[in-house]
Subunit: 164 residues, 2 copies
């Protein structure tokens, strides 16, 4: 099971290759009201609790201009999740889904993505709504939400390729 690490009827695990193909640096921490995986929402909501994303000082300059966007895509590391389940039973009823057809935190690379609504920014702290993760979850990236962003750089040959 996802939240207590045991396996449910019908679930399937695999022997996973070593997770050494690339390395991540945690760029900060997320603060939410949820201390236990059993309490975390299944999905964030725009009118959910105000949460904080606190970025480490070394990356402070990378926050320049962040206030241009009120919707940000956040990537975070689901540090408490097992990584070896390929079939999961979300309803605990013996029926299963393949991991890549779920947004479960249990996956080969346990990375969560959410689009958050920014309320304000104070120094290296972002106050946002829309998260669904545990308190103290490590952050790995912040980007403008896809829908809000238009590239600044000039187009490339690839931008014009259609229907190939």
């Amino acid at each position: 099971m996802v939240r207590r690490d045991e396996m449910r009827d019908g679930e399937r695990a695999v022997a996973t290759p070593p997770a050494t193909d690339a390395g991540l640096v945690f760029i900060g921490r997320i603060h939410t009201p949820w201390q236990d995986r059993m309490e975390c929402p299944r999905q964030g909501r725009a009118d959910g609790p105000l949460c904080q994303i606190v970025i480490d000082d070394v990356w402070k300059d990378a926050l320049k201009d962040i206030e241009l966007y009120d919707r940000l895509e956040i990537l975070y590391w689901l540090h408490r999740s097992r990584r070896d389940l390929v079939w999961q039973s979300p309803k605990s009823d013996g029926t299963t889904r393949g991991t890549f057809s779920l947004r479960s935190p249990v996956r080969p690379n346990p990375i969560g993505t959410s689009v958050v609504f920014v309320e304000r920014v104070e120094g290296t702290t972002l106050f946002v709504r829309g998260l669904d993760c545990l308190d103290e979850t490590p952050v790995i990236d912040i980007k403008p939400a896809r829908e809000s962003f238009v590239p600044l750089a000039p187009p490339t040959p690839g931008d014009a390729m259609t229907n190939a």
Copy 2:
């Protein structure tokens, strides 16, 4: 600069901490028409070229039920990108933006996210449109697109929390 690894006027780099907080396993490779970073589109398009996502056999079972979704979120590792720029100059004109206010491939953890449109699935190969990355880019995750997915598991206390 993003695509040739040099720095442009006004750009700023930092001494980065070691990227050893967590490890990734590459779950497959992406095949696109783009062999050079100068050709890659700035953004994927729904009517762009048909690309292939080939998943490693060890994760084959995790693809079960993937055909339930015609829009998938793909996470991939931008393996050619430097990771130390905090200010970038997308127009090469001396004006800069903070990295977290850009969707540039250059970032502390160079992870790209795209929503793709699935044309068909054959074994462990997904044929999709909407990608923007180099040929041979490593894949790190596949999830149903946020907009298409409704959780199967029962709600938790957190799901009901609003406006805290």
